[in-house]
Amino acid sequence: MTEAVKSLRQTPLPQDPRETGQQLRPGLWETVNQRYPGSMITKADYVPLARLAKPLSQARVTLISSCGVHAKTDPPMDVCHPFGDFTFRRVPSAARHADLIIHQLKYPHDDADEDINVIFPIERLQELATEGTIGGLTRNFFSFIGYNMDSARFERTVAADIARAVSEEEHADVALLAPA
């Protein structure tokens, strides 16, 4: 056995993150920012926590996701525009998987096409509301595409508009977010 082979055999194999429970794509922020410079941002401060003043069994829950799901009767978001699409869609919380479709290219959604709940757990939330574990659901949930090259514009438009709708139109007590 040559020294090179001996040395290789002594080098421990990298651990498989699927078996160790670590982030499957480490350094995602860096790699995405290299590919799309300026798309990934940092914030210097923490937002003070809002408090839930009631038990979950009385709380109205909303769902917000960047997975790009929308009702089949609504137009899809623009997944080809180089700067992204700065609009969002309301998704009726009473919708079933058959009413919805995902239109987004930036993450694998083959499994979500089989069962939307792996990224947009709308049917699990409906069940929790029906059995009374949570107080209810807002009339609409929210969806957009998580590819936007102008974070300041995104904060002024999509983020501000969804936040306003969640609190003033839907009167949500809790928001569950799924960043696809």
Binding site: G21, Y46, H109, I162
Partner: protein, 97 residues
């Protein structure tokens, strides 16, 4: 996504996100998050594994009540290898959990 979470929280509505990219969530300083060591597009697990999907949803919602400081990131120690094994079994059996 973190920008929306911060905007909603700032309006007085408590938020929690389910993330598979812990580093991104840390940099944007999301108010509360549940980190799952799973692939993109699979934040709530595998197709038709309703028990697991429900567990992730409930763990996340409970974090709204238990997190004491902004920036809290909890994790659910379920490895993706386990999820795949269970999902493969479900697919083979043509079953739902």
């Amino acid at each position: 996504m973190g920008l929306i979470q911060r905007a909603v929280e700032a309006r007085g509505v408590p938020t929690v996100s389910v993330t598979v990219a812990r580093d991104v969530t840390e940099k944007i300083k999301a108010p509360r998050a549940l980190f799952m060591p799973w692939p993109m597009g699979h934040h709530f697990g595998a197709p038709f594994h309703t028990v697991l999907q429900r567990r992730v949803v409930m763990e996340a919602l409970q974090l709204v009540q238990t997190a004491e400081t902004s920036g809290t990131i909890a994790t659910l120690p379920v490895k993706w290898a386990e999820v795949r094994r269970e999902a493969k079994f479900l697919t083979e059996q043509g079953k739902r959990l």
